[in-house]
């Protein structure tokens, strides 16, 4: 049965880790294939010719790309341990905030990582505003999804990356002082086995980020 589900991923990609986390939370056995993004495998390019990216899920030979699309597919195909809420309005809210994270927060954070000086300062301001808005959704709840971890927590666990990226780039937008509620949430998350299994070693990650920053700098010269 494990051969039925394959995941093409990359250890440092939060999008790839999202799908792993969902698979683990739902107890779905899968085969993991690590991709070297500087040297993409023929299989990846064949299964995801449009975006050529990870994560890529292959179920019974049918490929699916885009982490949020994959998460919904997992929930619809394996009905146990649902990650999305049942109520349509709550589902809509979960999707809304997932989009906010992917379309607003992450691009702003990327800007902060790759910029310097005044531009970076403005970026940090923007990230703070967006994090404040997101943090609001946690108020009065154990997790974004309520009493237990769900879809939005899986999507939002990319916030772990903020901390590593912040240290590596010298600018940490996500601090305990400014965002105590998010930090509390992170503390709760890492107590969950499945989440812990998907964490990446901090130093390895920071080295990776530093290397990337350097190669981007030299590319733009």
């Amino acid at each position: 049965m494990a051969e039925e589900v394959k995941l093409f991923g990359m250890w440092a990609s939060p999008f790839s880790r999202r799908v792993e986390l969902a698979l683990k939370l739902k107890g779905i056995p899968y085969e993991y294939i690590e991709e070297d993004l500087s040297n993409k495998s023929p299989s990846l390019l064949k299964y995801n010719p449009i975006h050529k990216k990870v994560p890529l899920l292959v179920h019974k030979e049918k490929p699916l790309a885009e982490s949020l699309v994959i998460l919904e597919y997992l929930d619809e195909t394996w009905k146990n341990n649902p990650i999305l809420p049942q109520d349509p309005y709550e589902r809509a809210m979960a999707r809304f905030w997932a989009k906010f994270i992917d379309e607003k927060l992450l691009p702003t954070a990327a800007k902060v990582s790759h910029s310097t000086g005044k531009e970076q300062e403005q970026g940090v301001e923007e990230v703070h505003q967006q994090l404040k808005i997101l943090e609001n959704e946690l108020k009065g709840k154990e997790f974004f999804a309520g009493q237990s971890i769900g879809y939005l927590d899986i999507v939002a666990h990319v916030l772990f990356w903020f901390y590593s990226a912040g240290e590596a780039s010298g600018v940490n937008a996500l601090t305990t002082e400014k965002f105590p509620i998010i930090y509390e949430w992170i503390e709760k998350l890492i107590k969950i086995d499945a989440v812990n299994e998907c964490r990446i070693p901090k130093e390895k990650h920071q080295d990776f980020i530093r290397l990337r920053r350097e190669s981007l700098k030299s590319a733009s010269k």
């Binding site: 699916l64 949020l68 919904e72 309005y89 589902r91 809509a92 808005i133």
Partner: protein, 220 residues
């Protein structure tokens, strides 16, 4: 029980029209509120969509939802008649994939190509053509992206089905033509001739005038 469904929209916005089209396809009665999005957004809109301050917003029994694709999924889950998503999970996932592709790749590329000055148009048009070519492959010989009838991907592609040809008329840019994309071009005809779709589109002359005015503004 009288259900309260309201749509805060803008007459020329394809995103806003997506929501109206989905509601009309499912025969859901709703009240429409026109927003002046360029100059004067209403306090209600800002209250219901404080994060993005944009249209469309769907208000159902007092609860607001923003982001057109999120709204489409909500409409599908709440009003079960005339489904806009397929039943099979894989097909549903592919529909979501294509809707995302349209919003994240196609529309920005087309928009950029459309409003680039003629001298700088070549590269953006090339990129937009790549997107259209990829999107055309999703049709796979079907009448609509949704198969025999209009589905979520068709609704998401409304900009390409209607707005794009008007932009081409006004800017002289040639992106979607019968020669370059025969299947996709045919789809645009099928799409706009569909009776429910027809009723959900903004008036041609008004939209043409709007685009012409926009070009005049950017030239000054």
């Amino acid at each position: 029980m009288a259900e309260e469904v309201k749509v805060f929209g803008a007459w020329g916005s394809p995103f806003s029209r997506r929501v109206e089209l989905a509601l009309q396809l499912k025969g859901v009665q709703y009240e429409y509120i026109e927003e002046d999005v360029h100059k004067n957004k209403s306090p209600l809109l800002l209250k219901y969509n404080p994060v993005h301050k944009k249209v469309p917003v769907l208000l159902h029994n007092g609860k607001p939802i923003a982001e057109s694709l999120v709204i489409l999924e909500y409409i599908e889950e709440t009003w079960k008649g005339n489904p806009i998503l397929p039943e099979d999970p894989y097909d549903r996932a592919m529909a979501r994939f294509w809707a995302k592709f349209i919003d994240e790749k196609c529309l920005p590329a087309i928009w950029k190509a459309g409003w680039s000055p003629e001298s700088e148009r070549e590269k953006p048009v090339e990129e937009a053509c790549e997107c259209l070519k990829t999107l055309e492959s999703a049709l796979g010989g079907k009448r609509f992206f949704g198969g025999d009838k209009v589905g979520m991907v068709d609704i998401a592609a409304n900009f390409i089905g209607y707005w794009l040809r008007l932009i081409q008329e006004v800017t002289g840019m040639e992106l979607l033509s019968a020669e370059k994309f025969p299947e996709l071009f045919k789809w645009t005809d099928e799409f706009v001739s569909c009776s429910v779709v027809k009723g959900s589109l903004p008036p041609r002359d008004k939209l043409l005038a709007f685009f012409k005015a926009r070009i005049a503004e950017t030239m000054d």
